[in-house]
């Protein structure tokens, strides 16, 4: 196994212009502000955070649906730029959250699976069909499903189809945007197993986006915790779960309900809600809700340092 990253991002940013209303100046919403990460073949980089933290925007940039406003993204050493997108897209594929909305109800499963090949390659029809049938087998569906329509499948099976479609072009990076959060518990584990099995077999690099820390803990190798468009903590899974450094990560972990009634629950209750991403505080974005915030936190923005496990915080927990 190589540890050379297949995809690297440096200071990735994405801004949106939001109109302020009639005769008002439009404002800039920083959905993602300054993110560095790398994705390694055979490994899973998980991005966690609450709604509005910019994790889906990140997924869309990586999947080349949206162009970064600033920063660089490289794939196999080549810059990801809109003029190269057409060639590069086949290396990065995405699986969306809702398997009910992401499959065309008028297309048969075979057509859905073959469409990426029709668009991106010049493969003859017979080969396309053979490949699609192989792929059905790979994701655990039966050959007779080839001619069926999406409505004939359950949520879990649909998610398998979505995974199969993403794999048709033999991508190197698979972006998984909340792939199991719409599924029931008994189905969820089967899809996670499928994803882990495929990763082992095909040496795929996963960018796994989720808000469910239980799932992330199971699948991730590396973890980025995001808050208001910024990475507040980054590190290997085991280190991060064992000794979270950023107060937000600590709060997030303590707020996640654990399926063990005998454990005594000590929840850190966060006051208030996520501020609007339009008015991110000047200092540390988490300072208004943080129980450790000092005047320094409100004035200066802490930077995420370099190193294996770092947090963007002046007064980190579990230090040393």
């Amino acid at each position: 196994m190589t540890d050379t990253p297949v995809m690297q991002a440096k200071a990735l940013e994405r801004h949106y212009d939001v109109s302020g209303g009639f005769l008002k100046k439009s404002r800039v919403l920083k959905a993602v502000g300054g993110l560095d990460f790398q994705v390694v073949p055979g490994k899973t980089l998980a991005v966690v955070g609450e709604s509005g933290c910019g994790k889906s925007t990140l997924a869309r940039m990586v999947a080349m649906i949206e162009e970064p406003t600033k920063g660089t993204l490289t794939l196999d050493g080549k810059d990801v730029l809109p003029e190269n997108w057409a060639d590069q897209r086949k290396d990065v594929q995405i699986v969306f959250q809702d398997p009910y909305g992401s499959l065309n109800p008028r297309q048969r499963i075979g057509t859905i699976l073959m469409e990426p090949l029709v668009i991106n390659t010049t493969m003859p029809k017979a080969e396309r069909e053979a490949k699609a049938r192989d792929m059905l087998k790979l994701v655990g569906l039966r050959p007779e499903h080839f001619d069926r329509y999406p409505h004939m499948f359950s949520g879990g099976q649909r998610q398998r189809i979505a995974v199969a479609r993403a794999l048709m072009l033999d991508p190197k990076v698979l972006v998984l945007d909340e792939p199991v959060s719409a599924l029931d518990l008994s189905i969820q584990s089967a899809i996670l197993n499928l994803l882990l099995g495929l990763q082992d077999r095909l040496q795929l690099a996963y960018l796994f986006i989720s808000h469910d820390l239980g799932v992330v803990r199971h699948v991730a190798d590396e973890l980025i915790v995001m808050y208001l468009g910024r990475a507040v903590e980054k590190g290997p899974k085991d280190a991060l779960f064992a000794a979270p450094k950023h107060p937000y990560t600590v709060a997030l972990l303590s707020a996640t309900p654990q399926a063990d009634p005998t454990k005594d629950k000590k929840r850190i209750k966060l006051e208030g809600e996520l501020p609007s991403p339009l008015s991110v505080p000047d200092g540390c974005p988490f300072a208004p809700r943080c129980w450790k915030a000092q005047p320094k936190c409100r004035a200066e923005r802490p930077e995420l340092g370099t190193g294996a496990h770092t947090a963007a915080c002046f007064f980190p927990e579990n230090e040393g």
């Binding site: 609450e50 518990l185 008994s186 189905i187 239980g214 709060a251 309900p257 399926a259």
Partner: protein
């Protein structure tokens, strides 16, 4: 005497393709001051059974039961006028999606005051004072201002708090919370769950928590009822359910939790929940159960005794430890 007592509740929906049984002979008791969780996957009938208690099902639904009594009222034979005096006052419900359950045409203050006017007959000034008090209780900052906000001006967490404030406005004896935190982020979820537990401690109301999240169950509930495909398959206290599940479905569901995983590959439950046309003749879980034999597939299993968690199973699990302990 239990606060809410349900015996043999069955709900059938008339659909274009025949009748569909969403709830199948469910028995349930809820006592004053306890937190009961009803867990199950989607389609397990957990919401429908409680909507039947509230009388909120559409006309296509046929509700039959031996008994549904709440606080001395027979909810099966009650007329609509009398029911409306109970619903929203003594028996209240929090719905799953606050965004679509609140009326977008009225301010949240108007909506909360409506219940106070209808049920308690308060005058305008008393209503306003009580609404402010309720908003403070559920942790909505700046209540005076928020009372005149419309639902679309508030975030999901705030709207859910408004829903909770409406539900507890008349100090209900029983509060049914249908997936109260599913649409919310975990830090907000923690706030809402703490709030519900606090309200229970303070007012001594009964709380029914409908959820599919085992973590929420473990942290909040005292007693747990597990539903599968419309049937109640098991009921135990929360600690016993997580340590010694008796029904194979409960055991499989707990094993499938990623956080309980010991290996890279998770244990799975093969197959899917039976639908309208593939309902098995015997045990409903038998097609997916690794312990099932010919008897399970042909004969519906009996409901076992309280020492076996009322499990609907011929071959309950964890029986030896029970006898030993």
């Amino acid at each position: 005497m239990a606060l809410l007592r349900i015996r043999n509740l069955t709900v059938e929906f008339a659909t274009a393709s025949g009748r569909f049984r969403a709830v199948d002979s469910v028995d349930q008791d809820v006592d004053t001051g306890e937190i009961l969780a009803i867990v199950g996957e989607s389609g397990s009938g957990k919401s429908v059974s409680m909507l039947a208690v509230m009388g909120l099902l559409p006309w296509t639904a046929k509700v039959t039961a031996d008994e549904i009594t709440f606080d001395g009222h027979d909810l099966l034979r009650i007329d609509n006028r009398a029911r409306r005096r109970i619903i929203g006052k003594d028996l209240a419900m929090i719905f799953q999606e606050p965004m679509s359950s609140l009326n977008p045409c009225f301010t949240v203050g108007w909506q909360i005051k409506e219940a106070l006017r209808f049920h308690l007959g308060m005058d305008r000034r008393a209503r306003h004072a009580r609404a402010v008090e309720l908003f403070e209780q559920v942790g909505i900052p700046d209540p005076e201002k928020r009372l005149s906000a419309f639902p679309h001006q508030l975030s999901g967490g705030m709207n859910q708090r408004v829903m909770i404030a409406m539900a507890i406005a008349c100090k209900p004896k029983l509060l049914i919370a249908d997936e109260p935190t599913t649409a919310l982020d975990v830090t907000i979820q923690a706030q809402i769950l703490d709030l519900l537990a606090f309200l229970r401690d303070e007012s001594g109301m009964g709380l029914v928590l409908i959820t599919h999240d085992m973590g929420v169950v473990a942290e909040t509930a005292e007693r747990v009822s597990v539903q599968y495909a419309g049937q109640k398959v098991e009921e135990q206290s929360v600690v016993d359910l997580f340590s010694t599940p008796h029904h194979p479905y409960t055991a499989a569901l707990l094993d499938a939790l990623p956080e309980r995983a010991t290996e890279r590959l998770l244990p799975t439950i093969p197959g899917v929940v039976p639908g309208q046309f593939d309902r098995p003749a015997g045990c409903l879980f038998s097609p997916r159960c690794k312990f099932a034999d010919a008897r399970c597939k042909s004969t519906p299993p009996p409901v076992l005794g309280p020492d076996l968690g009322y499990a609907r199973c011929f071959y309950p699990l964890n029986t030896d430890e029970r006898i030993a302990s």
